[in-house]
Symmetry: C2
């Protein structure tokens, strides 16, 4: 599988007239090496790939593990006395134009590469990840199932006096006990806190006046993420809150129908058009526009290609997995978001998260 | 406090003849804003600071929270219709030379800035964080104390048949129940796995033949990290393993004494000299050199300025908090590492992690 992925990279390099590529993003390194232990917060590895070579560059902390787990890439161990620049010198002649990940490579790294290679040109590795194979899809589906189980479990834990952090902690315990990890720090928002789309889960305790609970969380299985949001009612919601819920739910449904219609008619599916359908509907019902994208691809990263946003140039294709997550947020009052993951199949969308979407009132 | 930090930035800008700075690293954004909810894996915010203005740039997901929690910075909400470039245009005239974080800013971001500002020059924000004030030190000390408690707790959980992941999970539960978080995914390595300095905690179960257990973990309190490593024996270690332990422990002690000696004599303390002392000692005892740095600063990030490494140019100063963590790793056999955090005070080092360092045999 990893050899096939390398092959894809090499074909794409040829097509774009590049002689090689220097890969710095951790998710792409994981995707091409299968090694998932590098920190996402620090630079611990790179890949350097040409038509006739493929190196994984890392340091002594990882070299023994990499030797064992990544036999299809040649290990270059950089250390106190060994600079990556030796490697560049060795391959200088074959590499006239080198691909780089401009949206990931730092200015400092760019300066080093610039010393060795004449032409540096943006090369998009991430987009190769957007179409998932069966193995990847299986992992995402499993992560979604664990998310659904966690949602069902957490409903029983919601009661007056519990704090947002306690709910997040219970979610985490459940997800870990089911063999997965969090794919991101979950958002648990009670009452007015729900009107902040990315509320920081805090010490607020639930009261009967809070009315609304927003839960946004995901599981991660073998590196592959799920992501879902449900908004549930606590006590009796006001008619405005019910209206918000109904409109958000319909906006999601309209986006789904739009995609399925286009698939049926074999039309090209622009991601930004999907975003527009949901956004327009919410505005038409007298609510403010969605202050974030309608959706995003997901896989080794929680947010990856494609983007379902107003300025997206992405085209939705078979095999892509993405979220559709409209929301309405009214500052100081309430927020409602509903988010599910879908895979785009030959005949249309298949929903991967399957928690109930009817109004739940606890 | 945040105003004083901004003031420091502005003074440093003047000194380096810069008219402003564009800050992209999440830790520096947290340091200057006090807002700790931005993802470290994605670009969700920037700071843009001049002598007469200071903006925090983020999107609709965070704007309500930022408005409340970050009153000392002006919010610029970028959205679907509002580009950060409007902000740049507004301040174009005052900013002839703009500071950037070259080791964090991406090539793509650099291109955008380049369109608006004539001169872009590296500006190091991170180093401002290396000297900790009392409040910061208090948080790190608390994180260290929780780490010590966790180590004491976990000793009771180590028994034949337990897996590395289970030990990691128990550590995490304990740390969370004590009100903290993991500062990084812990390394739990049984037996031969200890010879990989950054072993990926796995499903291996402990047997009586494993002999060695390496635990490297830390807690995080209000964003501030601790970090410690202990290697303990299980069953009877071989004399070679005992020798390794003794040499590592002595190497750490020698580094500490070197620092205290220099402080006593009011000598300038080059971080690389400290690294050298420990490294040389280990080599002199017939063991391979340390395949990583001797130590690193710590704070909002697990690894930050200063670096105690062979090529470091950093000078150790009063108020800095850093690790000293020599190690010996013999592939396919065993690894031993001992790591503690220290704060450099007027009279010398004060150790912040206080778990026992005598040989522990379970």
């Amino acid at each position: 599988m990893f050899k096939a992925r390398l092959q894809n990279i090499r074909q794409k390099l040829k097509k774009e007239k590049l002689d090689g590529v220097f890969i710095s993003s951790v998710s792409n390194i994981s995707y091409l090496s299968g090694f998932t232990n590098f920190s996402k917060e620090e630079r611990e590895a790179y890949l350097f790939v040409g038509q006739d070579f493929a190196y994984i560059i890392t340091d002594g902390r990882y070299s023994e593990a990499v030797k064992k787990q990544v036999p299809h890439l040649k290990l270059f161990e950089r250390g106190n006395n060994k600079l990556v620049e030796e490697l560049f010198k060795k391959h200088k002649k074959e590499i006239k134009t080198l691909g780089i990940e401009e949206d990931n490579l730092t200015v400092t790294e760019h300066k080093v590469l610039k010393k060795h290679f004449k032409n540096l040109k943006h090369f998009n590795v991430s987009n190769l990840r957007s179409i998932k194979n069966d193995e990847e899809l299986g992992k995402i589906e499993k992560a979604c199932q664990i998310g659904d189980l966690a949602f069902n479990f957490i409903l029983k834990k919601i009661k007056v006096g519990v704090s947002e952090k306690e709910i997040a902690h219970e979610l985490e315990k459940f997800i870990k006990e089911n063999g997965a990890e969090f794919s991101f720090n979950p958002i648990v928002a009670f009452g007015k806190n729900s009107s902040v789309p990315h509320h920081q889960t805090g010490d607020k305790r639930l009261t009967i006046n809070d009315k609304l609970i927003l839960l946004d969380f995901g599981a991660k299985v073998d590196g592959y993420c799920s992501d879902m949001t449900r908004t549930i009612f606590f006590g009796n919601p006001s008619s405005k809150q019910e209206k918000m819920y109904k409109v958000v739910s319909e906006a999601q449904q309209k986006a789904v129908e739009f995609i399925n219609g286009a698939i049926k008619n074999s039309q090209e599916l622009k991601a930004k058009e999907v975003d527009k359908v949901a956004r327009k509907y919410i505005r038409s019902q007298g609510f403010p526009t969605i202050p974030h994208s309608l959706g995003h691809g997901i896989g080794l990263e929680v947010h990856e290609h494609p983007a379902l946003s107003p300025k997206s140039r992405d085209i939705l294709k078979e095999g892509m997995v993405f979220s559709i997550e409209p929301g309405i947020y009214i500052e100081g009052f309430s927020g409602v978001r509903i988010e599910d993951l879908y895979v785009l199949e030959k005949t249309g969308l298949r929903q991967l998260t399957n928690s109930p979407k009817e109004i739940i009132t606890l």
